[in-house]
Symmetry: C2
Subunit: 115 residues, 2 copies
DNA sequence: TCAATATATGAATAACTGTTCATATAGTAA
DNA sequence: TTACTATATGAACAGTTATTCATATATTGA
């Protein structure tokens, strides 16, 4: 049985269906946001805003166990949020690109808080 | 015992600690990202890009049970991602502000995919 | 080679979260 | 009021995930 809604918004509904990204793309975007949606990982990103850092200093900056930070860094890297390079005994991490900072800043603007 | 890292990056580490947002602010930002990090909720946002829609049409656009969509809408609204107004028997939802679209577009750019 | 530092990883547990089912609330028309 | 449509909500279960602990790998210096 048909619904009794006003026809006004059916155009929007139709366009929404036609332009819905394929399932895989939605899940890729979702994975990005999920990766940066945990306070512990978000702190790492806030820390890396100020320049590249090795794991030891990241642990200092965000607190928590070295093992936990390492697990989180692996997730961030696997999802393309951060990148890393070896420098002697250290692994130096940095934000993958400028989009990351831009997204963080937009979210803060949305919340009316200063980064 | 002191670590043996190069001093190069200690400036970044110090700045990171000094500029780390307070715990509450980190968690508010994290909550925003967590809210938009589920494929089902993300689909709702992709759908609402094309204009406001009532729940019935959102269900049509994203699939799934009405109850599930309603739960998701509640979360989205509680976190300030969408807003709603009543229109007769219908509740019409729309994106809360332009930041939401901007964040989605940035994430897609990051993934090199067209929105 | 050995010892020390730096980082990563596997497994296990505890906490969290999305969905479903059943039901409740609210508006509309008769 | 009653019947119907539209939306919301509470509880419970299943699946996911972050952390901890113990251990492994890799680099450096002696």
């Amino acid at each position: 049985m048909e619904c009794q809604h006003k026809a006004e918004h059916e155009g929007a509904a139709r366009r929404a269906i036609e332009n819905m990204p394929p399932e895989g793309e939605v899940e890729r975007v979702a994975a990005i946001f999920k990766t940066i949606s945990e306070p512990s990982r978000l702190k790492i990103l806030f820390a890396l805003r100020h320049g590249e850092m090795c794991v030891f200093h990241i642990v200092e900056a965000v607190g928590g166990a070295q093992s936990a930070v390492s697990h989180q860094l692996r997730l961030l890297k696997a999802n393309g949020i951060v990148k890393s390079r070896r420098d002697g005994q250290n692994i130096v991490y940095s934000l993958a690109d400028e989009h990351v900072v831009a997204v963080l800043e937009l979210a803060c603007t949305h919340l009316h808080c200063k980064l």
